[in-house]
């Protein structure tokens, strides 16, 4: 496996290339050139990615408050502390609830939009742009619009104005966790921001479905609409769907911006990254526990990625290229 891989890397198209051509004409050996090309990247990767990861691992076994060169080894104490800490465990619960809302809704909405746009015959580019445009907005900008205009808890907020027409009292959307209206605010903001992006993925996949499949289905008597969708479109989109769900899950894990901005100063509704941010960079500057939390989170993400990779064969594609 590993030897064939090396050959693949060296010659992605062995059948076509003329192997007789000697490499003497090249300046410098391939090894030198390899490091010339990849060296800057690998050095940066070592310093700014691998070193922090290892440092984080190391810190997580020490008591490290206000210091990053601790000397008090505490073993797994930080881990047991984080795993029994209500705030951190609560943040994992928050993530689970959030993912349970956002992943299916985004999947359905972006697929729905793609199906709509794909069937348009006029103004297709216009509507694609309309749905795609929110991708240009940052989570901070969206949080601001959502918090100060749409879901502002006062009378002049758009939602409160709209429900006021039906005689419903003002709702403090974000200021009160009971009932948890803040979920509506957070989920709609993210839906608006990311659906257009995944719609593009679905659109590309839809256009790759061979038209003959639909013709064959029509000949076999399948009714257009639900039947063709159920038996042709959906199965053909399987790979894209799985990829989209994986991406949505990872994105949900890393949720920070909108929670931080929409729910600033509250102690509820904190996803893991917000929790870690306050733990490590807040007043306590507890790098040890913060790092332990980051390690736990990383392990969880890896587990989810690998688990999903098993189903969809993530990364298998590059061997076939």
């Amino acid at each position: 496996m590993s030897t064939t891989k090396t050959r693949d890397l060296a010659r992605p198209a062995p059948a076509k290339a003329s192997p007789a051509k000697p490499r003497r004409g090249l300046r410098g050996s391939p090894t030198f050139n390899f490091w010339l090309f990849t060296g800057p990247f690998l050095i940066g990767l070592a310093i700014f990615v691998y070193a922090p990861i290892l440092w984080s691992l190391w810190l997580s076994f020490f008591e490290a408050r206000f210091t990053v060169t601790p000397d008090k080894f505490v073993g797994f104490e930080n881990y047991t502390y984080m795993l029994t800490n209500d705030d951190f465990v609560g943040s994992l619960v928050t993530f689970t609830v959030f993912a349970a809302f956002i992943v299916p809704t985004t999947w359905a909405l972006s697929l729905g939009l793609a199906l709509l746009v794909n069937r348009l015959r006029f103004m297709r580019a216009f509507f694609r742009s309309v749905f795609f445009l929110p991708t240009a907005c940052s989570y901070v900008a969206a949080a601001l619009i959502w918090k100060m205009s749409i879901f502002s808890g006062v009378r002049f907020g758009l939602m409160n104005t709209v429900i006021g027409w039906f005689g419903v009292e003002n709702i403090a959307w974000l200021a009160d966790p009971n009932p948890p209206w803040y979920w509506l605010v957070i989920v709609t903001a993210r839906l608006w921001l990311q659906s257009g992006f995944y719609m593009i993925l679905f659109l590309a996949a839809l256009q790759n479905i061979p038209g003959e499949l639909y013709e064959a289905a029509a000949i076999d008597g399948a009714k257009p609409g639900w039947q063709t969708f159920r038996h042709i479109t959906l199965p053909q989109l399987r790979a894209t769907s799985t990829a989209v769900i994986l991406l949505l899950l990872i994105a949900a894990y890393q949720a920070f911006d909108e929670f931080f901005n929409l729910l600033s100063k509250t102690t509820w509704g904190r996803p893991p990254l917000v929790e870690l941010y306050y733990k490590a960079l807040g007043e306590s500057q507890d790098y040890g526990s913060g790092s332990a939390g980051a390690v736990i989170l990383t392990v969880l993400i890896c587990a989810v990625t690998l688990l999903q990779g098993k189903f969809m064969g993530f990364g298998r594609g590059d061997e076939s290229k």
């Binding site: 990615v49 069937r119 240009a136 205009s149 941010y277 990625t305």
Partner: protein, 297 residues
């Protein structure tokens, strides 16, 4: 992959080939347009609110009666935003422009070189290196922000452009995408260059890059958007208001006690404006890039 024309980079533009198969499905044409229109309305409302509030007075934004349009459009808000001394907005806009631009240039340079090396240059341990790069994809950079912050602060890079830009340059993901792209790049072109006596370095700059501009444009667009919109890292690094990026500045206004509505909305509008331009002019590459890569970096 057999094409040897110089236009290899232009792999399949998003051809708007209408799908005829679903013709006469669940929805009539009118119904289709009504549904799309309603969805489009909801997607545009936040933009409308943003512009409306940015051009209103505070009194009108917080008024009892909802107004669809501001009665008197306040163009003066633009001037006020940039002259108001209490809000260092111009500086943050400049910081974001510098950071996002250098971030994009750096990522493209470093990651495309590495991607090419991994895809094309024969080296015994190339696959081990490749797996070391792939491994970092499993660890989201956002999760390592605590030790990264520690590292950068011990380098003395807090509140500097270096601190904002350099750690983000080494994206395993972008490198991976470039490698995938270069694997599909027709080898014949490079072999012709080698016959003419060019080394890898020369072939890369004179043949490979000029013929890959479309892919580079797509990656640049995506990288720029991510750089401009990133929040967590600039928040961690930007301690001093002078080094805030636009996103950090907005976040700070939002949580401030004294809220000046029209200025905040005007600031938000200006934070989105550059990317709207990117969208209008580079949408083709953006859509193509997303469709090709499938994943946001």
């Amino acid at each position: 992959m057999t094409t040897t024309t110089p236009e290899v980079g232009k792999s399949a533009p998003p051809s708007p080939k209408p799908r005829r198969g679903g013709r006469g499905g669940v929805m009539s044409s009118t119904g289709l347009y009504i549904a799309t229109g309603i969805a489009g309305f909801f997607f545009l409302v936040p933009f409308y609110l943003l512009v409306r509030n940015a051009l209103s007075t505070d009194a009108e934004i917080t008024g009892e009666n909802w107004k669809f349009f501001p009665t008197d459009i306040q163009w003066g808000n633009v001037k006020e935003l940039f002259t108001d001394g209490t809000v260092p907005f111009g500086q943050s806009l400049w910081n974001s422009a510098v950071v996002a631009t250098l971030h994009t240039a750096g990522v493209l340079l470093v990651c495309s070189l590495a991607g090419y090396g991994l895809a094309r240059i024969p080296y015994r341990h190339a696959n081990k290196v490749f797996y070391a790069v792939l491994g970092t994809l499993m660890v989201p950079t956002a999760v390592t922000f605590v030790p990264s912050f520690v590292l950068v602060s011990s380098l003395g890079w807090v509140d500097t452009y270096r601190g904002l830009i350099v750690p983000g340059l080494f994206s395993g993901f972008t490198c991976f995408l470039f490698r995938q792209y270069f694997l599909g790049f027709p080898k014949e072109l490079e072999e012709a260059a080698r016959v003419d006596g060019l080394g890898y370095w020369g072939a890369y700059w004179r043949i490979v890059v000029p013929n890959s501009l479309n892919f580079f444009a797509a990656m640049a667009t995506i990288t720029f958007i991510n750089g401009w919109n990133s929040f967590l890292w600039p928040l961690v690094i930007g301690q001093d208001p002078g080094s805030w990026t636009v996103q950090v500045a907005l976040s700070n206004y939002m949580t401030n006690q004294t809220v000046v509505f029209h200025l905040i909305f005007m600031a938000t509008a200006f934070s989105i404006l550059p990317l709207v331009f990117v969208f209008l002019f580079l949408q083709r590459w953006l859509v193509q890039g997303i469709a090709q890569t499938g994943i946001k970096g």
